[in-house]
Amino acid sequence: MLILECPYCGVKAEETELSPGHEAHLKRFGPGSSDEQFESYMFARKNPKGVHFERWRHTYGCGKWFLAARCTATLEVFGTYPAQTSEPPADIVAKIKARRPNWEGVK
């Protein structure tokens, strides 16, 4: 039963207040893109057993989307951050590296 702190309204939201959005930082490919690019955008997923960046919406709260850095093997949460970014912020990355020295970084 996850707790994720919404970076907008500050509420430590329980999972039942949230809607899941799966992998974060996908790069959208639209008309003009190759078949490989479009297929990758739509379907190829990292699905890591370990550090994972994912989307959540605070549906039964402020309604904002935010992103979370979380470990899929232990459910440890490294941090949450606003969704308006194409890559995890430096402080989140630093926090992950401090706790997981073997982490290979954002791929």
Binding site: S19, R28, F38, M42, W65, L75, V77
Partner: protein
């Protein structure tokens, strides 16, 4: 003979007697008794039959770990099967019945299984019942299923209610023994919010029974004082009868409180489910004693040594006049002392060790009780009750050296810390060689959301089985540092693990050494599993069913594991344990469901006109969490009749539809037009103010997911309508793209679905009705088809949309939700002269089908694109990009071979069955018939007086006039011609008047 003692009993109130029945026999006990102690007081040791062999089963333990003494509790609607007598508090009028026997507990025909036990070892059913094949289904399995299960299933609905509550705290302490109480006291002293849960009805745990002295006084005093101190603190919550069932991620703990189990029918909720978020959890959950594995260790009268003294001290119940103690440790000697103090006889203590000189042993010797070393039990004598034991050398093979007459055996194989809650979220265990037990590994605790330890174990749950270390441990774990109260308990010498008694027991003896009492798993079974290669502890468990009964192996797991390790010649820690899963003890399903039953099983969303529909003959249809009228029946009318009447009337006179559930989303801002051009397949930015446009939304895969009319309200404002099911989903979809992809676009959206009631006024008299209500100009000139206008109607502010889903002259009127009912009723009253009738969703379906309009969810199924539905005109070729455009460029979606929308008209006028499929010639490579089309919507059309249908057919529009055959599921075939899907008013004149 088990009986009530004349004196003593810490927990009973001899002044308050309670009458109860067991198997119809009237018995009496006291307030404070458990059902188990009361049964023993009435000399009812035999309480059930084991699952497989139907062997007689007696009470073994005194707490939640009890594997045998399960009863059907209560009667009728209050029946509860599989209730543990050891945790059931006695109440007046309690009615209990034993389980799993026929015709009676004492004479059970099922015991024939026991007579042929050698033919029914673990896993025997995997090796047989193979031939003849049909016999499994028709003979063997029905017999097995009929004999399955223990208690009876209830036959009536549950009359009790269940509550659920939330709590937050800094520290949750599970366990109200001295370790838990100390941890709570220490933490609470810092001001932390503390919750303490104790599964029984009393505080103190084992310490008061085991003669522990705290600050020179019996532990009872310290317990009472500590509880009083905690009760006085405002930051502490104490709850008895509350069992922590499971620890879940991020500090979430579920606990089940037995509120009114002991006062059934008093109006209180039977149980309360606590959902607790704790910053930290301390498990002071104690330890459970292990049985010893000797032949006949399952005969009623053989009990855990600690349970024997629990019954004597707590409930003044003697399990037997002559109690033989068999042990591998010092702790069991406490039972000898307790038995002696109660004035009963201990004929002997059989100690498997070769040395025993601890304080307790010496005390027992000084009482004149015989202590024999290197001795064990070769076998127990007696069938339905212990009558004696045959003594052997533990080091030997079981040759009988002596026989001792007795009526109870108190056994102790050592203690296992209760590690379940520690383990639920991945806490790891470490094997303690000295105590032959698994205890929590402090280096590998379960961790919570910030990577810190979520749970700490204290006291005997932490492997500290001697009382003097327990309080210091609790203070430390609670973050304190002061000195612990002085605890005095006798020094105990080392225990010696005994995994088989005697250590060289023969195969015959091993076939009678029981590990799992409920599932009838014996030492020989585990050895068989190892021999057959089911070597992993999980394989052994599943193959033998060891530990899979209602006690989940609380008494059997470690002993079974040790036998397996012995068979594999591997050290116990290498073999490991099976996974601990919640709940710690079984939790009532009703408590987990709580109050969400019946009408409020799910939230109900109601339109402002809901009650009007309810009062006017509505037949409801669930649409998500909404209810919409399917039709309105008049007395004597079937649903089909009502629908026909509603359709005919809407086309000839006037119909009224509650369309409030359709989604209404306002999209506003400088970039709103650009945004909607991405959301829809159409161009929405060019929609002039005052106009409406039918729009389609696809997902990125290109599949059609929603449709609805969009209205341009002002330069920077559009109002989007969605399907009823789509409102929240489409709004979330929009916000997703705005917040996560195009966050620099200036667009604001809001879901206004519940802000407006929306009423469709439909039919040739629609305009006349609105003119009669008075207010805004709804003439064809002022409000043409696919336009909207604002004003008032019947004095109520309104926005009228000239859109038509029926093909008739139609206005959808939006009014503020709070005035929706007033507007509806005004329409009803004013509409009488025009023959107004309300209509429901089924008539809506028929009307739109007659016009060939698609319905999301009928013509679409998640794999259909607009181009399949002749809606290519709504897919802009000019736009460079929109959600779904790239997806539709993929080969399968761009193929000319796709199935496309057509109308289907049966040759005989009948209604095509829902979901009918037309085969094509030949079979595919998997031997299935090829197919070429399917029905997506089918109705009886009262307008055309025949069946009409829409469907998707391979290259359908190119095959007009062809006849297809549709097999019927009950045999036969329906023939239908491919026709234009617009059956009525092809030119669309009626909606445009």
């Amino acid at each position: 003979m088990s009986t009530r003692l004349a004196r003593g009993g810490r927990l009973i109130d001899r002044a308050t007697a309670h009458e109860f029945t067991f198997n119809g026999k009237r018995m009496a006990g006291f307030a404070g008794d458990t059902l188990a102690s009361a049964l023993l007081a009435n000399d009812q040791m035999l309480v059930g039959r084991s699952f497989k062999y139907h062997r007689p089963r007696g009470i073994v333990a005194s707490g939640a770990e009890e594997p045998n003494a399960l009863v059907n509790l209560g009667q009728g609607a209050r029946l509860e099967p599989n209730q543990r007598t050891t945790t059931t508090e006695l109440f007046p009028g309690l009615a209990a019945a034993s389980q799993n026997h026929w015709p009676s507990l004492e004479f059970d025909v099922g015991v024939v299984n026991n007579a042929v036990a050698r033919f029914l070892p673990a896993g025997f059913y995997y090796k047989t019942f193979l031939q003849p094949r049909a016999a499994w289904k028709h003979l063997f399995e029905p017999v097995i299923r009929a004999s399955a299960g223990l208690g009876r299933a209830p036959t009536e609905a549950d009359p009790d209610r269940y509550e659920q509550a939330y709590a937050h705290c800094d520290l949750l302490v599970v366990g109200g023994g001295i370790a838990g109480l100390q941890a709570a006291l220490t933490a609470a002293g810092t001001g932390a919010r503390v919750i303490v849960l104790e599964q029984t009805a009393h505080w103190g745990g084992r310490a008061p029974v085991d003669d522990v002295l705290i600050d020179e006084k019996p532990a009872d005093h310290w317990v009472a004082a500590t509880v009083a101190a905690l009760s006085a603190m405002p930051n502490v919550t104490l709850r008895l009868r509350c069992m922590a069932a499971g620890v879940y991620d991020h500090g979430y703990v579920l606990a089940e409180e037995r509120v009114a189990d002991h006062t059934p029918g008093d109006g209180r909720p039977k149980k309360r489910l606590w959902r607790i978020r704790a910053a930290k959890v301390i498990t002071a959950t104690g330890a459970i004693e292990r049985p010893l594995p000797f032949a006949g260790n399952d005969i009623p009268g053989v009990m855990l040594a600690s349970a024997v003294r629990d019954y004597i001290v707590n409930w003044a119940v003697s399990p037997g006049d002559r109690v033989v103690i068999v042990t591998n440790n010092d702790d069991a000697y406490r039972t000898a002392i307790a038995v002696h103090r109660a004035g009963l006889t201990v004929p002997a203590v059989l100690d498997a060790r070769t040395e025993a000189d601890g304080d307790l042993v010496q005390e027992v010797r000084s009482l004149g009780i015989a202590v024999h070393l290197n001795r064990g039990i070769a076998k127990v004598k007696g069938g339905r009750r212990v009558s004696g034991v045959a003594v052997c050398a533990q080091a030997g093979e079981g040759a009988v050296l002596d026989e001792i007459a007795c009526d109870a055996v108190a056994m102790s194989g050592g203690w296992s810390p209760v590690v379940h809650l520690w383990s639920h979220c991945g806490g790891k265990l470490i094997w303690d060689e000295a105590q032959a037990a698994f205890r929590p590994d402090p280096q590998r605790p379960p961790i919570t959301h910030d990577g810190q330890a979520m749970v700490a174990a204290v006291g005997s749950a932490n492997g500290l089985l001697q009382a003097d270390e327990v309080l210091a441990d609790a203070i430390r774990a609670a973050g304190g540092s002061g000195p612990a109260p002085k605890v005095h308990a006798p020094a105990e010498a080392a225990m010696v693990p005994v995994w088989m008694m005697p250590q060289g027991a023969s195969a015959e003896l091993r076939a009678k050494m029981w590990l799992d009492y409920q599932n009838d798993v014996k030492v020989a079974d585990v050895q068989l599993a190892a021999r057959e290669g089911y070597e992993s502890v999980e394989h052994t468990k599943r193959y033998t069913t060891l530990g899979m009964a209602t006690d989940q192996g609380k008494l059997s797991n470690i002993n079974g594991l040790a036998v397996l390790a012995g068979s594999l010649n591997a050290p116990i820690p290498q073999v490991g344990t099976t996974t601990f899963r919640p709940p710690y003890t079984p939790v009532t399903l009703g408590a987990l469901a709580g109050e969400a039953r019946g009408e409020i099983f799910q939230p109900l969303r109601r339109t402002p006109m809901h009650d009007w529909h309810q009062a006017h003959g509505v037949y409801w249809e669930p649409v998500g969490l909404w209810r919409r009228p399917y039709c309105y029946t008049r007395p004597g009318e079937s649903h089909a009749d009502a629908v026909k009447r509603e359709v005919v009337n809407a086309r000839s006179h006037l119909g009224l539809l509650d369309a409030s559930t359709l989604g209404k989303i306002v999209v506003k801002g400088p970039d709103a037009g650009r945004f909607l051009d991405m959301m829809y397949t159409n161009v929405m930015s060019s929609l002039p103010v005052g106009r409406c446009r039918y729009g389609l939304m696809c997902n990125e895969n290109g599949f059609l997911m929603d449709d609805g009319v969009v209205a341009r309200i002002s330069d920077d404002t559009w109002l989007c309508h969605t399907t009823s099911g789509g409102a929240d989903r489409i709004h979330a979809h929009m916000e997703d793209w705005l917040q996560c992809e195009w966050w620099d676009w200036q667009v604001y959206t809001a879901n206004l679905t519940e802000q407006y009631a929306q009423i469709a006024v439909v039919g040739p008299s629609a305009r006349k009705l609105l003119e009669k209500l008075g207010g805004m100009d709804v003439s064809k000139e002022a409000l043409p088809f696919m336009h909207w206008a604002e004003g008032t109607l019947a004095g109520i502010p309104a926005r009228a949309f000239r859109i038509s889903f029926s093909g008739e002259l139609s206005y959808e009127i939006a009014v503020p939700a709070g005035q929706g009912l007033a507007f509806w009723e005004a329409c009803i009253a004013a509409g009488k002269e025009f023959g107004l009738m309300p209509y429901g969703t089924e008539a809506l379906h028929v009307l739109r089908a007659e016009k060939g309009f698609i319905m999301i969810g009928d013509e679409t199924d998640g794999t259909v694109i607009p181009q399949d539905l002749n809606l290519g005109w709504a897919v802009s070729k000019k736009k460079a990009d929109f959600i779904g455009k790239r997806g539709q460029e993929r080969t399968f979606l761009a193929s000319p071979d796709r199935w496309k929308l057509v109308g289907l008209e049966t040759l005989d006028g009948s209604v095509l069955p829902d979901g009918a499929i037309a085969p094509a010639p030949g079979m595919n490579a998997n031997g299935q018939r090829n197919t070429q089309g399917r029905v997506t919507s089918t109705y009886y059309s009262p307008t055309l007086k025949k069946g009409i249908a829409m469907g998707l057919v391979h290259r359908g529009p190119d095959r007009m006039g062809e006849v297809l055959e549709f097999p019927k599921i009950w045999g036969g075939v329906v023939k239908a011609r491919i026709v234009d899907p617009v059956f009525y008013d092809k030119a669309g004149e009626k909606q445009d008047v």
